[in-house]
Amino acid sequence: MADGPLIVQSDKTLLLEVQHEEADECRKAIAPFAELERAPEHVHTYRVTPLALWNARAAGHDAEQVIDALIGYSRYPVPHALLVDIAETMARYGRLRLEKHPIHGLVLTSTDRAVLEEVLRSKKIQPLLGERLDGDAVVVHPSERGNIKQLLLKLGWPAEDLAGYVDGEAHPIVLAEDGWELRSYQREAAEAFWHGGSGVVVLPCGAGKTIVGAAAMAHARATTLILVTNTVSAHQWKQELLRRTSLTEDEIGEYTGTKKEIRPVTIATYQVMTTRRQGVYKHLELFDARDWGLIIYDEVHLLPAPIFRMTAHLQARRRVGLTATLVREDGREGDVFSLIGPKRYDAPWKEMENQGWIAPADCVEVRVTLSDSERLAYAMADAEERYRFCATTSSKTRVAEALVRRHPDEQVLIIGQYIDQLDELGEHLGAPVIKGETRVKERERLFQAFRDREIRVLVVSKVANFSIDLPEASVAVQVSGTFGSRQEEAQRLGRVLRPKAGGGGARFYSVVSRDTVDQEFAAHRQRFLAEQGYAYQIIDADDVLAGD
C-alpha cells in the first residue's frame, strides 16, 4: 500500500494521519498492540512498547497479525529490524506460564528450557521457587504468585498467568437496568475484563467507569472489595451501586476513616488501607476479611505502592483496575501490568466525545503579566517558594473573577492548589470553598447545591480532583496546580467533561503567570491536553480584562 495512513518510525512510534480515509480502520488494527501516546489534531502517535505488545499477546493477538497490520497500513516500507524486534518481543510472552498443578499447587512451566534456566539463575527469583519437578517445571510458593510475575516482567520474560482464580463467596448481584442501559462500550469493557480474568479497563473521565465496575460485579456475582481514592468517592460509588444494581443499603459497607463496615460489597479508601500504626498496616486484614470474589481498583494509576505490595498476595482473586490513563507519573506501569493484569479495554477520549458520551471541551490558557512589583518579589523569592508565589499572585485573582463574569449563566468550578488563594477567591466571588478541612457532610451538601444550580460558582481545592461527579459544571478555571502533573490535568478536565443537559461544550481555563515557572509547568500540562486532542489556545489576560 503506497499511501497508507500509517508511518512507522525507527523509535517504534507509529504516526497515524487522522484525516486519511483508512485512518479508522487502521486505528482499530493497531490499537491492540500500540499505546496511544498523543492525539493532536492531525497526526496521532502510537507507541509500540514491550508492555503494549504483551498486552496484545495476552488479548490473543500474535506477532503475525501485528506485522500484517504494520505492513498493510504503512505508507513506507517498514524497517526489517523493527519487525524482527516485534516478533521477538511478542515471543517472550508466554514462554513461561504459571499453572495449577494437581499435587504441587502453583508451578512455573516453560516451553523453552533455555528461558527457564536463564530465569532460574536470577538471584531474586530463586527464593520464590521450590523444588524443580522436571526439566520444564518448578514449584512456586503460592504466596509469591504476584512477586514472581513482577520479577519476571523485569527480566523481560512476562509469565502468562493461567493458574486461574478462586470463585470467592457467591453473592447475587444483577444490574437494574430500569430507565437506563449499559452503553455499548461499557458492556464491551466489562466482557473483555471477564474473559481476560483480570486486567485494566481504560476509559476517559466521565465515561462511566463506575458502571463498568458494576457490570463487572454482575459478571462475578460474588462478594466484592472496591478500593477508591477518597471518602467522597466512596459515597458516590455507593450511591451509584444502589441506583444501578440490585444491591441494597444493607449489602454495601463503607470502610473509611469514619465507618468500618464489612459487608458483601465493601468500599474502602486507599488512605485507610495505607494507614500505618507503629509501622504496621492495621487494616490489611480487610483483604482477608471475606472470601472476596472480585477486587475493583478505582483510579488504578494512583494506586499507592503499599497497595501494590498487598495486591501481590491477592493473585488468585479476580481483579479489575479502572482508570482514565495508564500513564503513571512514577513510571510503575509494569507493576500494573503484572499485578493487576494486562489492559483489557481501551477507548480514546476523542472518540467517546465524537459519539457524544462526553462533552467536547475548549482549553484556554490565560497568560497574566505580573506587575513590576510582583516581578521583583518573584525574582527575590526562594527557589521552593517561587511556584507558590507566581501561582497565587493577585493578578490571577482579578483574571479569575473576570472569567467568572464572562460566563454568567454557567456553572463554574474554580480549582486551585493553595488554600489562601482559594479563600481569597471565595471571598471575592462570594462563593463557597471546599478544601481538605471541609467536613464530608458539608462537602456533599455543597456539591448537591451545585448540582441543583443553587450555587453557581464553587471553589475547590485538590480534594475535588478525583471521582466527584459534577455533571453540570461547564466551565472550570484552574488557578494553580501541582506543578506539571499530567494526570492531575486529566482529572481536572474530567470534571467538566460530563455530558451536559444542554448538550453544550465545556471550557477549561488555566490562568498562568507569564515568564515564570508557572508558565513552564503549564506548558507541560497543556502539552498533555493538546496531545489528548483538545482545541487549545493561548490568550492574554489583558484581553479578558478588556472584554469586561
Binding site: E17, E41, S74, R75, Y76, P79, H80, Q526, R527
Partner: protein, 824 residues
C-alpha cells in the same frame, strides 16, 4: 562390482615420468581447438597474465602449483572428489572404472542425475586442463597430484610413508607381517596392498587400537604420539599405538608424528575414497518471500541506512570525534555514535565504515586529527536518495574492510576499533559477492528465498571445499547481516535493486568500453520504492510538526534549525520549543519570517499556540544584549565622557558610549588608563559593533583527501582479450615448433605514418591475422625494423609475434614509427 584400488603411484615413480608427462600434457594441450583454449583461459585467466610465448609455456604455467592451487580452490565438492579419485587411482584410468569408484562414495543412488553430472564434471576438468587424455585413459595434469597432497584426507602410500625406515627395521616389519624376502619398502607396500593381510592385521589389534585407527580413517590421516619412532615388535607391543606401529598399520613420519598409510586408510574406508558425496549441491533451506514485500522492506532499510549515514556525517560535522594515535575511532566515540543514531554498536560501526570507505568521512590530518565529513559528503548529500544508496552499497560490496569484527580482540588481545587501518580481510569482497550470488540463484523470480545462515554456510562449503578463508563462516554471517542492514536484502531475500547491484552490467563486452556506472540499474529499480521528497509538514497544537516523508532540502534545513527532531523514520517529527525558536532567532530569523515560512509549508492553518510561541519568544528575544569588553569608563558627569568621545586622540581606543555615563572599550585596562592619562583623564571600557551577533553552528570540514578508493574487484577478461591471447599463444607456438629462423626485415626504412594510421593498420592486421612490417625505436633509441604478427593491442602496447626475433614481444605503440604491409 567392486574395483580393487592399487595405490601404486609413488612419488619417485612419478618423478621419473614427470618429464614425459609434461610433454604428453603439452601435446594434448596443443591438440585442443582454439575454442577449447579460449574456454581454458576464460576459466583460468591467470594463465595468460602475462601471455605465455607458446603452448609449452602455457602447459608449464597450467601445471605450476600456484595456478593449480587457484583453480582447485574454485572447484565444488563433487568436482574435487572426481579429481581426487583420479589422483588416488593409478592413472591412466578409464572413464567407467573412475565413475564406478566415485559412485561408491555417493550418499544416494548412482542415478541418471549422477551419470549426467559425472559426464559434465569430467569434461569440465578437461576444459580446466586439470585432467587430460581421452575417456579410455584419463590422467591428472602434471602437478595436480602434488598440489592435492593427501587427497580426500588419505595418507601417503606405504612406499612413501616407510621411505625413511632403515633396512633392519623394514625387515622386522615384513617379518612380523608374515612376508618374506628381506626388508624393502616395496615389499612392505606390497604386503599392505593385500586386503587380506591388512584385514588380518587389523583383526589382531585391541579395541582401543582399532578405535585409534577409525579415528584416522576418514582423515586427517596424521596424528601426534610421543616417541613415534620406537621400534616395537608384534610380540612386545603393549599400548594400542605400539600394536599399530609394530604391524605397520601406522608409520612414523617424525619424532612425534605418525600417519596412516594410504593402503590401510583405503581398507578402513572399505574401498571407498569419499563418503556422503552428492552430485548436486545441498538444497538451500530457507523461507520463500513475496518479492514485492521483500523489495519494499529492503527499500525501507535502504532509506533508513542512507538517512543514518547522513545523520552520522551531520553529527560528526558539528562534533567530530578524535582519531586515535594508532588510527581508528575510540570505543567511547563508537558507543556515543551508536547511541546518537539509536542503533546497536555493530550497525553503527557498519555505517561508519561504509561512510569512510565511500569517502564521505576521513581523518583531518594525520596527527591529533578528527574524523569528519569530506567535501565528497557535500557532493553526495545533494544527489537523489537512490544514487546515494547505490554509492554506499557498491562501496560496501567492494570494500575489504570487515566492520563485523569491530569490538573484538585481535591475536594480540588488542581491541579492534572502528576505522582502524588493520581492519581488513582480502577475502571479504569475494565472500560478499559469493554469498549474494547464492541468494540471487535461490528461489523463483516471484518468490525469492531467504536462506538460513547454516544453509548458506553449508552450500558455500560444498561449492568451495578447498578454499581456505580465515573466518569464512563469520564473514558469511557478516555479509548476510550487513546486506540486510544496508537494504540489499529484505526479509533475508535478495531484493530487485540488490540483484541489479551484483549483476554484471548489461551491455559490457558486446560493445566494449561503453560501460555504465556500476549499480545504475539498481538506482533505477530503487527509486520508485523510496518516498518522494515533500515540501509540506503538518503543524499541530502540541507544538509538533510532522513531515510525513523526507523533506526537500530547504525546508528540511529550516526545520532542523527552528525545531528539534523528536523521532525519525519514514516521517520526521519536529518539536518546536522555546529553545529551538530562540536558536532560529539567534541564526538571524525574524518572527514574521518564521510565521510566513510555517504558513507557506503547512497544509493546515498554523495552530494558535505555535504562532503564540513564536511571537512570545521573539518578544523576549534580544531584549537583553551581551557583549565582550575588557575595560570600561564610567563617569557620573556625562559631559566628561562627551569630551573623551570628542577627543581625536581617543580614536585608536575604539571607544563606545553604552549609556550617558558609560563607555566601553576593547583595549586592555592598562592601555586605556595610560591613554586616558596621556589625554589628561583617568580610567575604563567596552567595544562592540552594537549589532546582534549572528551565531551559526560551527560546521567543519577536513581538507584532507578522501580515503583511497578500494580497487574494483577483478571482473574477468573480456572476449576480445581472450581471443587475442589464444592467438598469440598459437602464433608463438607455431613459431616455436617450426623453430622458425628469424626473418630478416626488408632493407630500408619503414615509411613513417601518422599515429592514427599506425593504430588503424595494426588493428586491421590483428583482425585478419596478417603480418606487418614496422619501424620501431628500441629502448636504446635505435631505429629497428621488424616483421610482426600482431596479436592484441591494449594500454598503449602491442603484443605480437616478432618474426625477426622469433619470439612474442610487447611493443610500445608510441615507439612504432610506421607500419607497412609485408611485401611478397
Amino acid at each position: 562390482m567392486v574395483m580393487d584400488i592399487s595405490p601404486y603411484g609413488t612419488l619417485s615413480a612419478e618423478r621419473l615420468t614427470i618429464v614425459g608427462m609434461s610433454t604428453e600434457f603439452a601435446e594434448w594441450l596443443r591438440g585442443r581447438s582454439d575454442e577449447q583454449l579460449r574456454e581454458l583461459v576464460t576459466l583460468r585467466p591467470e594463465l595468460i597474465t602475462p601471455v605465455p610465448a607458446h603452448v609449452e609455456g602455457l602447459a608449464g604455467r597450467a601445471s605450476s602449483p600456484s595456478a593449480i592451487g587457484r583453480v582447485l580452490d574454485r572447484l565444488d565438492r563433487f568436482t574435487s572428489a572426481v579429481l581426487e579419485t583420479l589422483a588416488v587411482l593409478a592413472p591412466p584410468v578409464a572413464y567407467r572404472p573412475l565413475r564406478a569408484q566415485v559412485a561408491r562414495g555417493l550418499s544416494g543412488p548412482a542415478d541418471s542425475v549422477f551419470e549426467a553430472r559425472f559426464r559434465e564434471t569430467v569434461d569440465r576438468l578437461r576444459s580446466l586442463a586439470l585432467v587430460h587424455g581421452p575417456d579410455r585413459a584419463l590422467v591428472p595434469a602434471p602437478g595436480v597430484r602434488e598440489v592435492l597432497d593427501g587427497p580426500a584426507g588419505l595418507g601417503p602410500p606405504a612406499a612413501e610413508t616407510f621411505r625413511h625406515y632403515h633396512a633392519e627395521r623394514l625387515a622386522e616389519l615384513v617379518e612380523d607381517l608374515g612376508g618374506g624376502g628381506g626388508g624393502t619398502k616395496e615389499g612392505l607396500a606390497a604386503l599392505l596392498a593385500d586386503r587380506e593381510t591388512v584385514a588380518r592385521l587389523v583383526g589382531e589389534v585391541s579395541p582401543q587400537a582399532r578405535a585409534a585407527l577409525d579415528e584416522l580413517a576418514w582423515g586427517p590421516a596424521g596424528g601426534r604420539v610421543p616417541n613415534a619412532r620406537r621400534e616395537v615388535r608384534v610380540a612386545t607391543a603393549r599400548s594400542p599405538i605400539e600394536q599399530l606401529l609394530a604391524r605397520a598399520l601406522l608409520a612414523a613420519t617424525g619424532e612425534e608424528s605418525v600417519v596412516l598409510p594410504r593402503e590401510v586408510g583405503l581398507f578402513l574406508r572399505d574401498g571407498r575414497i569419499h563418503r556422503d558425496l552428492s552430485p548436486v549441491p545441498p538444497p538451500l533451506g530457507g523461507t520463500a518471500r513475496d518479492r514485492a514485500l521483500a523489495d519494499r522492506t529492503a527499500a525501507g532499510q535502504a532509506f533508513t541506512f542512507t538517512r543514518a549515514v547522513e545523520e552520522l556525517c551531520e553529527r560528526w560535522s558539528a562534533d567530530p570525534p578524535g582519531v586515535l594515535r594508532g588510527g581508528g575511532l575510540a570505543v567511547r566515540d563508537l558507543k556515543r555514535t551508536a547511541a546518537l543514531l539509536d542503533l546497536p554498536e555493530w550497525a553503527a560501526a557498519l555505517i561508519i565504515e561504509v561512510a569512510h570507505a565511500a569517502g564521505l568521512v576521513a581523518a583531518s590530518g594525520s596527527v591529533d586529527g578528527d574524523w569528519m565529513p569530506t567535501p565528497g559528503y557535500d557532493a553526495w548529500k545533494v544527489r537523489p536518495a537512490e544514487e546515494r544508496w547505490t554509492a554506499l552499497a557498491t562501496t560496501w560490496l567492494a570494500m575489504d574492510r570487515v566492520p563485523g569484527m569491530i569490538g573484538e580482540r585481535d591475536e594480540r588481545d588488542r581491541l579492534r576499533s572502528a576505522l582502524h587501518p588493520d581492519l581488513r580481510r582480502a577475502a571479504a569482497p569475494e565472500v560478499r559477492a559469493t554469498t549474494l550470488a547464492m541468494l540471487a540463484a535461490a528461489g523463483g523470480p516471484d518468490a525469492p528465498l531467504a536462506p538460513t545462515l547454516e544453509a548458506v554456510r553449508e552450500r558455500l562449503a560444498w561449492e568451495q571445499p578447498r578454499r581456505r578463508v580465515a573466518d569464512r563462516d563469520r564473514l558469511v554471517e557478516f555479509a548476510l547481516r550487513e546486506a540486510e542492514q544496508i537494504g540489499v536484502t529484505g526479509l533475508g531475500a535478495l531484493s530487485g535493486h540488490g540483484r541489479a547491484l551484483i549483476r554484471p552490467v548489461p551491455g559490457s563486452g558486446a560493445e566494449g568500453g561503453s560501460r555504465t556506472a556500476p549499480g545504475s540499474g539498481a538506482a533505477e529499480l530503487l527509486a520508485p520504492l523510496l518516498p518522494e521528497p515533500l515540501d509540506h509538514v503538518l503543524l499541530q497544537a502540541d507544538l509538533t510538526a510532522v513531515a510525513p516523508g523526507p523533506l526537500t532540502g530547504e525546508l528540511g534545513r529550516w526545520l532542523a534549525l527552528a525545531a528539534d527532531v523528536e523521532s525519525t523514520g519514514g516521517a520526521t517529527v519536529y518539536r518546536f520549543s522555546e529553545g529551538s525558536i530562540r536558536r532560529a532567532l539567534d541564526a538571524g530569523q525574524g518572527a514574521d519570517e518564521m510565521l510566513a515560512m510555517l504558513a507557506r509549508h503547512s497544509t493546515t492553518p498554523v495552530p494558535q499556540p505555535l504562532a503564540y510561541l513564536v511571537s512570545d519568544v521573539a518578544r523576549r528575544h534580544g531584549r537583553m544584549r551581551i557583549g565582550t569588553a575588557s575595560a570600561y569608563v564610567r563617569c557620573d558627569d556625562p559631559t566628561v565622557l562627551d569630551e573623551v568621545m570628542a577627543d581625536r586622540r581617543a580614536t585608536p581606543l575604539r571607544l563606545r558610549r553604552l549609556a550617558p555615563t558609560v563607555i566601553a572599550s576593547k583595549t586592555s585596562r592598562a592601555t586605556l588608563v595610560d591613554s586616558l592619562r596621556a589625554m589628561g583623564y583617568a580610567p575604563v571600557a567596552e567595544s562592540l559593533d552594537g549589532d546582534v551577533i549572528v551565531t551559526q553552528l560551527d560546521v567543519r570540514r577536513t581538507e584532507g583527501p578522501p580515503q583511497q578508493r578500494v580497487p574494483a574487484a577483478f571482473t574477468g577478461l573480456d572476449a576480445e582479450v581472450i581471443t587475442a591471447a589464444v592467438r598469440a599463444v598459437r602464433a608463438g607456438d607455431a613459431a616455436h615448433r617450426a623453430r622458425r629462423r628469424p626473418v630478416d626485415a626488408p632493407e630500408g626504412q619503414v615509411p613513417r605514418s601518422p599515429a592514427t594510421a599506425t593504430i588503424g593498420a595494426l588493428r586491421e592486421a590483428i583482425r585478419q591475422g596478417s603480418q606487418v612490417w614496422i619501424g620501431y625505436l628500441d629502448s636504446q633509441g635505435n631505429a629497428t625494423s621488424r616483421i610482426l604478427e600482431p596479436a592484441r593491442m591494449e594500454g598503449g602496447y602491442l603484443t605480437a609475434y616478432d618474426e625477426t626475433r622469433a619470439a612474442v614481444h610487447r611493443f610500445a605503440l608510441h615507439r612504432i614509427t610506421g607500419v607497412a604491409e609485408v611485401q611478397g
